[in-house]
């Protein structure tokens, strides 16, 4: 488990006066001196090059240097060259904004949301968190330009309105070779002008991932707990298509969505065939899911047939399809090729049953939260 923030960073030395600041971490002793002043050096040996703006000591004694120092507990062993950190010396706080070595870096843009999904893994809070945008705007220019992909999530990122568009513009400007994946419920894009302003930015590699939970409006509205959401989401998807922004459909599989999964797949092929990708995702046992477990839990073994049908319909229609957060022993062998190892490396775990499994290294495994509840059909695949 990786800890991304701490309230017990120990700052010492002559601390410049500011509330918080984003800095890039470096491990490179040969970093050009012109850049050192605005970066933090991760001390990892005896040689401590001069001239960096900050020196970070993770789980090691602080040695005397000619600049402010930050001492961190061993939780931060993972820090690496190119990471971007937020420093808040007045509160002894430090937070990792960006991890260079993570497969995907996700930025939470806001905790506010206009949906209230039964299985939300990041329950929304109605708070004034506009400062987050400023922080990300500050961090984006510090990210190395060879990063393949970053993600915007929430809450609902588009509730930020023009500030959301500012962030997309910043990604286009500062990360001209990096893909931008935005997780949104799509409702804001039911306003054609808003959709068009996103398209008009002309980002080089953008995709908006939008959930559609049912082919029937009322089932979708129930899952997201918002009357009229379905119509706004569908209109949003159509408007994005109109303005040339690629869309991905994301479907969480649970008791409310599984019974009509193949009907939904057919609906997508008839109505939204233009989408770039469909992701069928296993349930994560976190956030609201725990409160609504009775209305959501269905053993994946019990929907394996329906999942196979749905994947077949999408695949034959040549829609690129993936299965996320699922274990290989619970899905039909004929659709293994659609299963991705999607769970972030630090969240991914396996069960005792898995230890003798021949395909464990190909299997996505479990979210660590799955300990709460997982299929009673987990079994090792023999060689």
């Amino acid at each position: 488990m990786i800890v991304l923030g701490t309230q017990s960073a120990r700052y010492s030395g002559e601390i410049p006066v500011f509330e918080r600041r984003a800095v890039r971490a470096s491990t490179d002793p040969y970093r050009p001196e012109a850049l050192r002043k605005r970066e933090a050096f991760l001390v990892n040996g005896d040689s401590v090059p001069e001239g960096f703006g900050w020196y970070i000591f993770v789980n090691r004694p602080v040695t005397a240097v000619n600049a402010p120092t930050i001492e961190l507990p061993s939780d931060f062993d993972f820090l690496a060259d190119g990471d971007v950190l937020r420093l808040t010396p007045t509160k002894n706080s430090l937070r990792v904004l960006f991890r260079r070595n993570a497969s995907v870096n996700s930025f939470l843009l806001t905790e506010r949301c206009n949906n209230f999904c039964l299985m939300c893994s990041q329950p929304p809070r109605n708070v004034n968190d506009g400062w987050i945008v400023d922080e990300i705007l500050e961090a984006l220019p510090l990210i190395d330009t060879d990063v393949p992909e970053i993600m915007f999530s929430g809450g609902e990122p588009t509730l930020l309105g023009s500030r959301f568009l500012d962030l997309v513009r910043a990604c286009k400007s500062y990360l001209p070779r990096t893909a931008l994946h935005i997780l949104s419920n799509g409702r804001s894009f039911s306003d054609p002008a808003f959709a068009k302003s996103l398209g008009d930015i002309g980002h080089h590699d953008i995709m908006v991932g939008i959930p559609v939970y049912s082919d029937l409006a009322h089932v979708h509205d129930y899952v997201v707990q918002a009357d009229g959401a379905y119509d706004e989401t569908i209109r949003g998807i159509l408007n994005l298509k109109q303005t040339g922004v690629p869309v991905e459909i994301r479907i969480v599989m649970h008791k409310q969505t599984v019974p009509r999964l193949s009907a939904l797949a057919e609906f997508l092929t008839r109505n939204l065939l233009f989408v770039e990708h469909v992701a069928l995702m296993g349930l994560e046992m976190t956030g609201f899911t725990k409160a609504n477990l009775g209305d959501l839990w269905v053993d994946p073994a019990d929907y394996a047939e329906e999942l196979k049908r749905a994947v077949g319909i999408l695949d034959r229609a040549k829609i690129k399809t993936s299965i996320y957060n699922s274990q290989l022993c619970l899905i039909d062998r004929s659709i293994w090729r659609f299963a991705r190892r999607s769970i972030s490396d630090w969240k991914q775990e396996y069960m005792p049953e898995c230890q003798s499994c021949a395909v464990m290294d190909q299997c996505g495994g479990f979210f660590s939260s799955a300990e709460l509840k997982y299929s009673s059909h987990i079994q090792p695949i023999p060689c």
């Binding site: 209230f116 029937l216 129930y222 119509d231 209109r235 009907a263 008839r270 109505n271 077949g312 229609a317």
Partner: protein, 486 residues
């Protein structure tokens, strides 16, 4: 008290009831009815359920209700975006119309080395040049082709045996390419040939200009040679050698083959399909015989009736389905084209199944003598003495005169299936086409009486047959989905 609301809270249809969206229905067999909506989505229901649905008394939790709602046959207070989706799908289906004419057929000569009794155009089996298209005629025809707004232009060379006038084919290809250097359209060339006279020069020309070869293969050697006589009785051997040579020198996907069905074919559908498999084709177009040209004159057309052809077709289709179920991918192209209409949002451009009719719109024929025909069938009709669908001549008429020809416009308008008696209420209308040329040829009327129409009878049977097969067997539906999205 939970902060989450129950499902019923969002289910407005429980209170509001529902309203019907436009749909048509037709009996399949017995108690089974097929319903189709504006864009060809379909549902199969029992008569009593259809009855309940149309009276407005189907209940929201009925599985039929959910299917009808999902496929946009009804609207209720839960959602209004249904109408936007239907409109979008309808626009997608109709969008190809705006491209107007993409397929331009050039009859380079009427001369032919074969003397097939079913040949659908007259042949001149001698060396006289009077049946060859001239360069002047070709130039005027190219002028017209480039007037088409279509971004894709397909030039197909036909005969007679098109290769007997290879120099003109080369002339046309070079001229088209010269003009296209500025126009920058997507240009494709196809040579329709029996391959018996395939020369080094023809291969070189095809290689140089990426020309696709389309040939005729009627089935096993005995049937093929019987159908397609030529001096030496070696048509099969020459065709097969030609196919292999094209594959070897131009690429395995550079040659396609079409078969013609005759009375002699009717009992041999498996043999015909096996021949296509043996020749490494991955599909076959089981074609009906059209009523034009020599086919009628020689009584071939009457030699077997519609039901015999349907037996032939479905025996072949079921044989092919069986091959697929056993894991060998092979396609029946007529079914694939109809299934694309049934199972996808797309509208295939197959000329014979378009409404408004594809005549003069999707394709146009420039005959060797400069006469312009609304379709290949129109040219065949003219060779029989009926020039009704000759819509002009490249030397004496302008583009506007030809494509706004009164006969053409009247035929297109009056035969538009959505407004024709019996078609307008037929559940298969979204899959079918208008064929004013066929109905003029057989009933002297652009519309025709549908109960007497072989076109209607044949296609209705094919549509029903396809729906029944995929509805009763999910594994067949999977195969059909693959064909539809090819």
């Amino acid at each position: 008290m939970s902060k989450f609301q129950a499902l019923e809270r969002y289910e407005n249809s429980l209170k509001s009831g529902y309203r019907l969206l436009p749909f048509r229905f037709t009996q399949l067999s017995g108690d089974d009815y097929v319903l189709s909506n504006l864009v060809g989505e379909f549902v199969v229901l029992k008569r009593s359920v259809l009855n309940d649905f149309s009276k407005g008394c189907l209940l929201p939790h009925d599985p039929a209700f959910e299917e009808l709602k999902s496929k946009h046959f009804l609207i209720d207070d839960d959602s209004s975006v249904v109408v936007d989706l239907l409109a979008l799908k309808l626009r997608t289906k109709l969008a190809p119309l705006a491209n107007f004419t993409a397929l331009h057929l050039f009859v380079t000569t009427l001369r032919c080395d074969h003397s097939c009794p079913y040949c659908q155009v007259s042949r001149a089996n001698d060396d006289r040049q009077e049946f060859d298209m001239s360069e002047e005629t070709a130039l005027k025809s190219i002028d017209l082709a480039f007037r088409s707004p279509s971004q894709v232009l397909k030039f197909e060379f036909q005969g007679g045996e098109s290769l007997l006038n290879l120099n003109l084919i080369r002339f046309i290809i070079e001229e088209v390419k010269r003009r296209n250097a500025e126009q920058r359209r997507d240009i494709q060339f196809v040579i329709a040939t029996n391959l018996a006279l395939l020369s080094d020069e023809a291969i070189e020309l095809a290689r140089q200009h990426d020309v696709l070869i389309s040939t005729s293969l009627d089935g096993p050697e005995e049937l093929h040679n019987r159908n397609r006589p030529r001096p030496g009785n070696d048509s099969y051997k020459r065709t097969i050698e030609g196919i292999q040579r094209v594959r070897r020198e131009l690429g395995r996907d550079r040659v396609g083959a079409l078969m013609t069905t005759t009375a002699a074919s009717l009992s041999l559908v498996r043999g015909i399909i096996d021949e296509y498999i043996a020749q490494d084709f991955r599909g076959i177009f089981l074609r009906p015989l059209s009523p034009y040209g020599f086919a009628i004159k020689t009584k071939f057309y009457q030699a077997y009736d519609q039901s015999k052809w349907l037996e032939f077709y479905f025996e072949g289709l079921d044989y092919i389905i069986d091959l697929n179920l056993k894991g060998f991918g092979f396609t029946e192209y007529y079914a694939a084209m109809v299934l694309r209409k049934m199972l996808t949002p797309f509208q295939p451009g197959y000329v014979d199944l378009l409404s408004p009719s594809g005549a003069g719109v999707a394709a146009v024929v420039y005959n060797y003598d400069g006469d312009v025909y609304a379709s290949d069938e129109s040219r065949m009709l003219a060779e029989m003495g009926d020039k009704r669908f000759c819509i002009g001549n490249v030397h004496s008429n302008t583009y506007e005169e030809i494509f706004l020809n009164d006969t053409l416009l009247e035929a297109l308008e009056s035969s538009f299936a959505a407004s024709v008696p019996m078609c307008s209420w037929c559940a298969f209308e979204p899959y079918c086409g208008a064929d004013p040329v066929f109905h003029h040829a057989t009933q002297s009327d652009f519309v025709g009486k549908k109960p007497l129409s072989a076109f209607c009878n044949r296609n209705m049977s094919v549509f029903k047959g396809l729906i029944e097969r995929m509805n009763s067997r999910p594994e067949v539906r999977e195969i059909f989905e693959r064909w539809a999205y090819m």
